[in-house]
C-alpha cells in the first residue's frame, strides 16, 4: 500500500529521493524549539476558524436597528458588521465557540511568536546564516500585530471603535503626511467613508493572511535549507547536526503538539469568555467607556500613549508633531528598528562575521543578553504603565503619581536591569570556570594520590 502511494508520487513527480531526505531530516531536541511550532499551529487554527467566520460576517457599516434575541440591545442603532457578529455570538449554533477560539488563537499566536523571538534572540540563533530568517520573522510579527488589530477593529463594537479611532489619531500624527494618509485610507476624516469596513475586511481576511502565509513559507524553507541550530554537545558541532529524524521520531511529537495546541484553544474558546462584544454595545464617534484595555499584545502601545507628557512639537502657531507620534509611532519604531538591525549591530560591535550553527546560552554573551534584557524591561515597563488605571481602581494608588513614577522609571530601570543581567552572565560563566578548575584540581589530586599509593 505504502509502496503504491510512493510509486504513484515518484512516477509523477520524481520526488522519492526528496521524500526520503525529508523523512530523515533532523530536528535537534530542546523544548524551546517548539515555540515557533506553537505559533504555526495557532496560525492554522486562525485560518480555519477565520474562514468559518467569514461565512457569517457582514463587512458593512450600513446602520440598522437591532431586533434580536439579545434584549439589552433591542432597538439600538448599529452597523450591520456589529449586528452580524452579535448574531454569530447568539443565534449561530457553535458560532460563539468558533469566534472565541479565533480570538484566543490570536492572543496565543502573538504570545508564541514573541516567546519564539526571545528564544532566537537570547541564544543568538539569528546570526549568520540565519539573519534573513530573522528579518522575515520580525516582519511576520509586525504583520501579525496589524492583522490582529484590524480584525479587532472591524467588529465595530464600542471597544473596537475606540481602538480604531486611536489608531487613526496615531496615524494623523505622522509628520508631514499624516492627515493626507489617514484621509486617503479612511476615505475622509474619521469615521471615514462607507468603504472603510470593506477595506478593513479584505485586509484582514486576504491581504495580511496571504502575506503572512508567503513569509511563513519562506521562513520555514530557509530554516530547513540551513537546518536547525543546536546547543553545543559531545557530538554536536558547527559541522555535525544531531537530532531526531522527521519520521518516525518527530512526526508524532509535532502532530501531538499541533493537536494539543488546537485542543487547548478550543477548550479556551468554549470555556473562557473573551471579548463579549454584546456587553460593549455598538460604537459611535461620541461614545467611549472607562477601564477599556486592548488585547494584551497592544498593551505596550496604550502604555506608551498614556505615559508621554502633553507635548506637541509646535513652531509658531503650527503644531508640527502631535503628541501621539511619540508613543504611537516613535516608540514602536525604535523597538522594531532594534529588532531589525540588531544582527548587524551585533556583528559590528563584536566583529563576528562567522557562520554559526551552534547556539549560545544567554550567559555566554553578556553584551547581547544585557541589551536584550534592557529592551524587554523597557517594553514591559511601558506595558505595565498601561495598566495604571486598573491599579488605581484595585489598589487606590493615585493615577497621576503612578504615571510620573513610570515616566522616570522607563529611562532608569531598563539600564539598571541590563547592567545587572550582563553582570549576572559574567558571574555565572566565572562560577562555571571556577567549578571546572576545582574539579580538574580534584581529579589531579586523586590521580596523584593514587600513583603515590602505587609507589608505596
Amino acid at each position: 500500500m505504502i509502496r503504491r502511494v510512493v510509486r504513484y508520487l515518484d512516477e509523477r513527480s520524481g520526488t522519492a529521493p526528496f521524500i526520503k531526505k525529508t523523512l530523515r531530516y533532523l530536528f535537534p531536541d530542546h523544548w524551546s524549539f517548539l515555540l515557533g511550532e506553537v505559533a504555526l499551529y495557532c496560525f492554522i487554527v486562525l485560518v480555519a476558524t477565520g474562514t468559518y467566520l467569514t461565512f457569517f460576517f457582514v463587512d458593512s457599516s450600513h446602520q440598522v436597528v437591532y431586533h434580536g434575541p439579545y434584549t439589552p440591545l433591542e432597538d439600538q442603532h448599529m452597523s450591520e458588521a456589529y449586528r452580524s457578529v452579535l448574531d454569530i455570538s447568539t443565534t449561530v449554533k457553535a458560532g460563539l465557540l468558533i469566534r472565541q477560539t479565533h480570538h484566543w488563537a490570536a492572543n496565543v499566536f502573538l504570545a508564541a511568536i514573541i516567546l519564539h523571538l526571545f528564544r532566537v534572540f537570547f541564544t543568538g540563533a539569528f546570526r549568520k546564516p540565519r539573519d534573513l530568517t530573522w528579518l522575515i520573522g520580525v516582519t511576520m510579527l509586525i504583520l501579525a500585530l496589524l492583522e490582529a488589530y484590524v480584525g479587532y477593529s472591524m467588529v465595530d463594537d464600542l471597544m473596537s471603535g475606540m481602538g480604531l479611532v486611536i489608531g487613526y489619531g496615531v496615524g494623523l500624527s505622522i509628520p508631514f503626511v499624516g492627515a493626507n494618509i489617514m484621509g486617503w485610507l479612511f476615505h475622509g476624516p474619521f469615521p471615514g467613508g462607507e468603504v472603510l469596513l470593506s477595506r478593513l475586511y479584505v485586509v484582514h481576511v486576504f491581504l495580511f493572511p496571504a502575506l503572512i502565509a508567503v513569509l511563513l513559507t519562506a521562513h520555514l524553507v530557509l530554516v530547513a535549507l540551513r537546518h536547525h541550530t543546536q546547543f553545543p554537545g559531545v557530538r554536536q558541532s558547527e559541522r555535525r547536526v544531531v537530532g531526531v529524524p522527521t519520521f518516525p521520531g518527530q512526526t508524532p511529537r509535532s502532530l501531538g503538539l499541533m493537536f494539543a495546541t488546537a485542543g487547548v484553544l478550543f477548550l479556551l474558546g468554549g470555556l473562557v469568555q473573551i471579548n463579549p462584544i454584546w456587553l460593549w454595545g455598538p460604537f459611535h464617534t461620541y461614545t467611549s467607556t472607562n477601564g477599556a484595555q486592548p488585547d494584551w499584545y497592544l498593551g505596550w502601545l496604550i502604555g506608551a500613549l498614556r505615559l508621554v507628557p502633553g507635548w506637541d512639537f509646535v513652531v509658531g502657531h503650527y503644531t508640527l508633531v502631535p503628541n501621539p507620534f511619540w508613543g504611537g509611532v516613535l516608540f514602536p519604531s525604535l523597538v522594531i528598528g532594534f529588532l531589525y538591525f540588531w544582527p548587524w549591530v551585533e556583528r559590528r560591535l563584536t566583529g563576528d562575521q562567522a557562520f554559526h550553527n551552534l547556539l549560545e546560552r544567554p550567559r555566554d554573551n553578556p553584551l547581547r543578553t544585557g541589551v536584550g534584557v534592557g529592551m524587554v524591561t523597557w517594553v514591559v515597563l511601558v506595558f505595565v504603565a498601561g495598566s495604571s488605571d486598573r491599579v488605581n481602581v484595585l489598589f487606590n494608588l493615585a493615577y497621576d503619581k503612578q504615571i510620573w513614577v513610570y515616566r522616570v522609571a522607563v529611562f532608569v530601570v531598563p539600564v539598571v536591569f541590563g547592567l545587572v543581567a550582563a553582570r549576572v552572565c559574567r558571574e555565572l560563566v566565572r562560577g562555571e570556570r571556577v567549578e571546572e578548575q576545582r574539579q580538574l584540581a580534584e581529579t589531579e589530586a586523586r590521580l596523584e594520590f593514587a600513583s603515590r599509593l602505587d609507589q608505596a
Partner: protein, 331 residues
Amino acid sequence: MSRGRDLLVSGLVLLAGRRRGLRVRPAEPRILEEPPERNPRAESAAIVCLFLGALCAAAFPVVYFVGAVPAKTQLFGLSLGLALLFVAAALVIVSQTVVPTEESEHDYPPREHVEEQEYVEQLVEESGQGFTRRRLFKLGLVSAGGALGVAALTPAISFGPLRVRDFYGTPWRKGRRLVDENGKPLRAADIEQKTFYTAFPEGADQEEQGSPLVVVRLEPSTLRLPPKLHGYDANGIVAYSKICTHAGCAISLYRVPTFAPTEPRPALVCPCHYSTFDPADGGSVTFGPAGRALPMLPLEIDRDGNLRARGNFDGPVGPSWWGVRERRPSP
C-alpha cells in the same frame, strides 16, 4: 466456502486486535536500529486515548442537534477541545514509547557553493556581452520599470481624498440649535450642575467628529475663561468638542463632584489615555498626553430658552496633525 471462512477468521482476528508481528523482509538490512522494547501497556493507553477522542468528537453533533442542551458553547468547547487533546495524548504516548526516537546525526549542508556562484556570475556577464550601449539600456530598463510602477500605483490614489481641508470642517454654524441624541433641543434651564450632557448640531450627522459636544454647567463665578474666549459661555453653561484632541476618543468622564485635596477642580477626562481638561479654563490641558486645549463652542440662549451655537469652535476638532492649530474651522 473456504474463502468465506478465511474472511471470517481474518475479520475475527482483526476485531480481537491481535498484535501483528513485524513484517520485515529479512534479507534487507534494517534502516532503523533494532525495534525498541515492546510496550503493550503504553500502546493500549494510546488506543484508549484515540477512542476517547473519537467519543468526545462524536458528542459534538449530538450537542448540536439536541435542542434542549443548555450552555452549548461550553459543551461544544469541551467536546472539540477534549477530542483534540485525547488525540494529542495518544500521539505523545506513541512518540515516547512505541515509535523509535533514536537520535541521528549528519553534516550540516555546505556553507557555500563557490563553483556555482562563479558560474552564475560568469553566465550573466557573458550573456551581456552583446550589448554595446549598456548604460543607456540600463537607464531604459529603470525608466520603464519605474514608470510602470508609478502607473500601477496610480489607481490607488482613488482610495480617498488627499486634501487636509476636510479635517477642519464641522457642522456647527451660528444659530444652530443643540439637540440630544434623539434630536430633542437642549433647554438651558434643564442643564444642571455636576453632570454632563452630550449634544449635537440639529439635523447634522452625529457620527462626524465635528458634531458631538460635551456640555456642563459651572458656577459663573468659578469660570476663568481666557480673554479670547470671553463670552463663550451662556450663564455658566460651557460647551466643548467631545472629541479628545489627543487621539480622538470621546470624552466621557466628568470629574465632579471633587474631593480635596487631590482633585481640586472639575475636569473633563478622556478614558483612553486620561487626558484631562479644565472646563472652567477654556478646556486647557491639566494632565495627560493631549497637546492642545479642547475646542470651545460659543453658546447663546434663544428666546425659547434653547441653547444655540453662536459660531464655530475656536480651534480645529479632534486629534492633531501636521500644521494644525493655525487655522480655525471653516465657518
